[in-house]
Symmetry: C2
Amino acid sequence: MELDNINPSVLHVKPSAMRKFDHDISVDPDIIKLTLGEPNFDVPEHIKAAAVKAITTNCSHYPYYWGFEELRQAASTYYRDKFGYHYSADEIVVSVGATEALASTVKTLFKPGDAVIIPTPAYPLYGALLTLNQLKPIFIDTSDSGFVLTPEKVQKAIADHPESTIRGLILTDPNNPTGVAYTQDQIAALAPVLKDNHIWVISDEIYGELTYGQDHYTISKYLPEQTIITNGLSKSHAMTGWRLGLVFGPHPFIDEIAKTHQYTVTAAASLVQYAAVEALTHGQNDAAVMKAEYQKRRDYVVTHMTAAGFDVVHPGGAFYVFAKIPAALHMDSWQFVKTLAKEYHIGLMPGDPFGDNDYIRISYAASDEALAAAMKAIKQMVADKSRNVSKTAER
Amino acid sequence: MELDNINPSVLHVKPSAMRKFDHDISVDPDIIKLTLGEPNFDVPEHIKAAAVKAITTNCSHYPYYWGFEELRQAASTYYRDKFGYHYSADEIVVSVGATEALASTVKTLFKPGDAVIIPTPAYPLYGALLTLNQLKPIFIDTSDSGFVLTPEKVQKAIADHPESTIRGLILTDPNNPTGVAYTQDQIAALAPVLKDNHIWVISDEIYGELTYGQDHYTISKYLPEQTIITNGLSKSHAMTGWRLGLVFGPHPFIDEIAKTHQYTVTAAASLVQYAAVEALTHGQNDAAVMKAEYQKRRDYVVTHMTAAGFDVVHPGGAFYVFAKIPAALHMDSWQFVKTLAKEYHIGLMPGDPFGDNDYIRISYAASDEALAAAMKAIKQMVADKSRNVSKTAER
C-alpha cells in the first residue's frame, strides 16, 4: 500500500519535535531534563488513596461519555470558586487530558478551510491540530508586545487576511512557553474585537492555578457565549500521566463537543474520574504547596539566566522560563539544546517548535538539585562557547 | 454564535443511541440491564495490584506517546502466542481503549471522500467515525449469509459503486452484535479480493479471546501488508473502564497512526499502562474463567430465547445474542426494548443502531440472576403482547 495514499493532513503534520527530542536525549543515563511540562511533585496522597479505593472496590466500568455527574458537579463548584467560571454540570465534559479537550474542541467548532489565530510563541499542539483538521493557522508574533496578544494585533491580523474567514483564536493564559500571565485589563481588552468579529476563543487555562503575585483571569467572564475553556488536573494536581481534562462552554456547543469526544475515546478512565472527584472536592489547596516552591525556583532560574547573559521574559505563571540565547553564541535554539544535552548532559526545550528559534524554554518544575546543575552547566557552556566563538573570530 | 456554523460532519453525526438509551433507562432503580458490552467480572486481582503499585510508587508521569516500550514488547509476545500476530514493538501503538485505536486509524488511513465498507449489522461507532472524517460508508447487509461477509459480497459492492474509491473495510470478528465468529476458511477467503482491490482491512478483534468451541483467526495472517488490527484489554481482562487499547500494523503506517494518536490524546494513562504490562505478561489465562461462564450463559440465553419464539443467530464468540423479534408482536426493535424497559424493567439493546430494526441484542456478560430475570420477563412480554395483538386483531 502506498503511504502517499493516506490522509494528507496526517502525512503533512510532523510528530512532536519536543517529545521526540525529550525521548532521544533520555538514552543518556546522566541527562538531567528540564524539558517537558511535568511537575516533579507526586500526586497528592488523598487523590492517590481515592484512586486505590476505586480499584479495590471494582469501580472499573464504563462511565457515561460526558463523565460522571458527580465529577462534573464538583468541577462546576471548584472552578467557580477558583476563577469565577460560570458553568453548570451540563456545560462541562470530562476528557482524556487537556490534549483531547483541545482536539475535540478544534474538530467540533471549525469547518475545513476556516482560519484560526495562534499567538506565538505557542504550544506546538495547536498548529498540529489545525493541520490535522484542514484549518488555516494565522500566527501572530507577540514578541514585540511583551508576549501578550493585544486587540490591535487581532485587528491587524483580520485586516491582513481578507481572504480568510477567521473563526477562532487559541489563547494560552498563563502562557506556555513564555510563562506570561495576562492581567485583568489585558484579558478584558481582547473581548470586544473578538465579539465584534464573531471569533471563538479556545482558552487554554491549564496553568490557571500557577500564577505568582497575581490572580488568574478568565476571558469567559467577558465573552461567555464565545469561549470554550480547556483545563485539567495535570498541572494543578501533578496528574500529568493520569490524563484528566475538562472542557467548559455554552451548552449547545459543549453538547456537540461531547459527541466528538465520545466517538474519539468513549470516556475518560473511570478510576481516574473517581480520583478527580476527590481532587476537586478536597484538593482546593493542593496547588498551593507546589506554587510556593515553583515561585522560589522561578526567581532562582530568572536570576541565574539573566546573570548568564540571557534576555528573560518575566514569568507571572506556569513553570517555564523562556530565555533568549545570547547573540555572542551564534547558535539557534536546536544547536543550543543539542550541544547542551550532548556535552553538558542537561536537557532543555528549543524555542523553534514554539515558533521562535532564538529562545530556549526551561521547565522549572524540577528539583532544586536539577536546577542548580542546569544553571551551572548553562553558565559553563556560555563561557566555553563564547570563548570558542571569540577564538574562531580571531583566526 | 450559530450552531449551524460549526463543523457539519460533527453536526450531522448523532450521539450514540445505544449509550443514550442505556443512560436513560438507568434512572429506573429496578432496571436489570443487559445493554452495554461490559463484563460483569471484576478486573483480575493481579492486575489491580499492579495498578495500585503504580499509584503508590508514584509512576504518574507522561509516558512516551507510542506507549511504554515494555508494554509494547509484552503485547508483541502475548498476541503472537494467542493468535499468531507478527508485530514487533515498533509496529504497536498503545491507545486510549479500542475506540481511540479505531478513531486514530480511520482518521489516518483515509482521505476525505474515500469509501469504506461496513458489513451490517455493525457496531455503530464505525459509521459515526466515517461521517466525522468525511468518508463514505458502503453498508453490506450480511443477514442473508449467516451474518458472514463473503468475497462475493465485497465484489458486488465494488461493482455496485463504480463512482466510489473503496479504500477500506471494517471487519469485526468475533462480531458485535451477532456474536458470529468467522472460521479460518471464511477469513482466508476474504483476503484475495481485498488484496486485488487494494482495500485496507481494519480488523476489530476486541472479542478475539472470547470464542466458544473454535479458535480465533486473524486476517493479518493472510493480508499482513493491508491489515491494521485494533484490540485491547476491555473484554479479555474485563478492563472496560480503564481504557487500554492497542493498534497493530506495518511500521510506516503505524508511525502515521501514532502521530494522529499523539495529537488526539498525548498517551494512554501511565498507571493503566503499568497494569496492562501485568495483564499481558501474567494474565494469559485471565479470560479462560470468564469464557467458561460466558459459554454456559450463551447456551442458556439461546435456549430460552428460541423457546420464546425468537430466531437466534448462533453465536460462536463475543458475549451477545442477536435475536429476531417474533413477527406476531408487530414491534420494531425500539418499540420492543422501550416496552420491555418500561413495563418489565429489563434493558436490552435495539437492533436499529446496528442496522437491523427487526432484532434485539442481549449482552450475556451479566449475572445468572439477571439473565434468569430477563428470560422470564421476555417470555412474559411475548405472551402478554401476543395476546394483545390477537385481541386487537379479533375486534
